[in-house]
Subunit: 413 residues, 2 copies
Amino acid sequence: MKAEIISIGSEILRGQITDTNANFIAQKLIELGIDLENISVISDNPESLLSTLKLALQRSDLIITTGGLGPTEDDITYQFIARALSLKLIKYPGAEENLKRILKKINTTLSPSNLKQTYLPEGAKIIINQYGTAPAMILEKDNKIICSFPGVPHEMKRLIEENLIPYLKEKFPPSMIKKSKTLKITGLGESSVNELIRDYMNKQTNFSFGIYANPEDIQVQITTQAPTEKEVEKMLQSSVNQLTKILGNYIYGSDEETIEEVVGNLLKSKKLKVSVAESCTGGMLGEMITRIPGSSKYFQGGVISYNARVKEDLLKVPPEAIRKYGEVSRQVAKLMAEEVRKCCHSDIGISITGIAGPGGATQKKKVGLVYMALADGKKTITQKHQLFGDRQLIRLRAARRALNMFRNYLSGI
Amino acid sequence: MKAEIISIGSEILRGQITDTNANFIAQKLIELGIDLENISVISDNPESLLSTLKLALQRSDLIITTGGLGPTEDDITYQFIARALSLKLIKYPGAEENLKRILKKINTTLSPSNLKQTYLPEGAKIIINQYGTAPAMILEKDNKIICSFPGVPHEMKRLIEENLIPYLKEKFPPSMIKKSKTLKITGLGESSVNELIRDYMNKQTNFSFGIYANPEDIQVQITTQAPTEKEVEKMLQSSVNQLTKILGNYIYGSDEETIEEVVGNLLKSKKLKVSVAESCTGGMLGEMITRIPGSSKYFQGGVISYNARVKEDLLKVPPEAIRKYGEVSRQVAKLMAEEVRKCCHSDIGISITGIAGPGGATQKKKVGLVYMALADGKKTITQKHQLFGDRQLIRLRAARRALNMFRNYLSGI
């Protein structure tokens, strides 16, 4: 089966927004084993719409449109789908009821232009939209399936998950289940990951692999298929085991897991509390740790010691230490971690001090130089990093390195 | 002139990445007054590539391809552009030199598959790629322009900015200069903005307007054109003035300006220093303020008082106040702001305490309830907000509301 997406939206062509809808739909189709062959982005002008629909009807079996279902004159998707298929537009009574209900909810009265949204091509299976005014549809004709969804991302996503996916699953029960698993790696570069696992990857015939480099980590995606869910899970697990043998503790998590979540789970299981002392990251490490619901169980708080006086007063770093070693130094990082641990009543204190740039560098200390420390009351670990990127990227990398230092510490105790 | 983009990349169709390249190119074309009519995303299979190229040659005058220029067997863009135009592929000696230079830089030796990257369609103006191995090109044939760029975003962006944009500017000097200006609004919802400025917008014939709602603000984009840069700037300014009369201080900035930048500039001009006391935001407010280079001039630091004991010990909030009013209360917010101002040696202290959820709500205090305060040593302003969204969105909105409270304070003194 050949599938294609038609995204209707002048804002995409004018560069005002990125078409993220297509990406969402592509992911959903892959999970069902349906291959997407084309994505077309067009504006809502009649000529483009008609020629693109006609081409799609020639070359594809499943056509999914997004956008152009609103109440204004520009919104002509249903009108032109009807024309391309030589169908009439007919009024769907259910649509008007829903429209009135939705408009009432947002304190708006029904305008004549809204009524346009109750007309769909004849034969369509209407999908009532509880999240907005535009109904969606699934239409089968001459062995083709044409379905239309609103362009508003959260409406489109819900309507597709609740309606299109179940419909496609029933209509085309996949003979093979295809699944992916992503391993998330930190502390190694893309080329090092590639070199380490190349031999393994080349020997595999039942898996396909992708290596993706992000600013904050490297991800290895493993994809495979099998007739049953159980078998495909077993196969994925066997590959994960092999890759874990090679990459070891560089793997910090998988799929949707974040490093702050992994660290949070380790803290919970070990019943430990942490606090942070941040200079160049300005609160980013605390912000990341507290993204996780329930982080109040293990995160006490901390001090943002951006200015030297805050280091001295709240973190009791002696002015002499700052004079002698500088605010960005291993010694100051160590003192910051040790004191924040104490003053925030936590088991572990973590600190970051560095030069995020663009200013602040000296001859000996370059932009991107970051010291970090971890104090647990018995010992204090320190690390020095020379990071690259712009100001925000250096800060992000510093916070993530600190989380990784913490993860390695926690998995070792 | 009709322009179109062909994005070649199976990763996009498999949903692994979003096509952000097309968005970048669309923005560049709009600035040149060139209308983009189509974006097609296809995989690098011969059939798709050939039919999409042929269709593009029929309907468009300017065709920009991205992707499929790598050294592997999958990378067949040049081969099929040559075929679609009935041209030969010929070896470009300049390409090989560059290739060797780039490979040397990354410590890799030239492999036979790399040599493929030195062959381009005859007649092409080759664009040597200093950022990677794949050369780009601009090819004119039969009144059509076909140009190809690598799919790697940072290579594509630089090569397009440095080569395609100057080429198009020279070839098609725009008769009208088209420009946009974006006003950024906070403290009002999308529908309120729409209602306030609708009458004004409807009366304008020389401007087009777009209203966009983001999680953190509302943006009004004004677009107009005129024969000269000066005239278009003047027109935009007149519209900005009119909209500013209507929306007043709800406008916090324009175009690329961020609210933390606006606040930072106000602080610098008034020579004031600030510190923060954060509970539910966990450091996000400090992180936002310190995104701005040079923020050490006005940001002292702060306390992340996630746990009650940190509020008591570092921010000297009396345990009785917490018992009586609760950690999330106007009284505690006030005490936090007042003490952080003092202990961080700053002119102004700002605090946030709230329930980000999903846990932590009580019968009286719902998820999304946030108190914030601003203390300047003479008085303390407090605000109460009931925010909506998931945990991270509530935190983001709380931090931005605090910045907006701060902006309003600073512009009033």
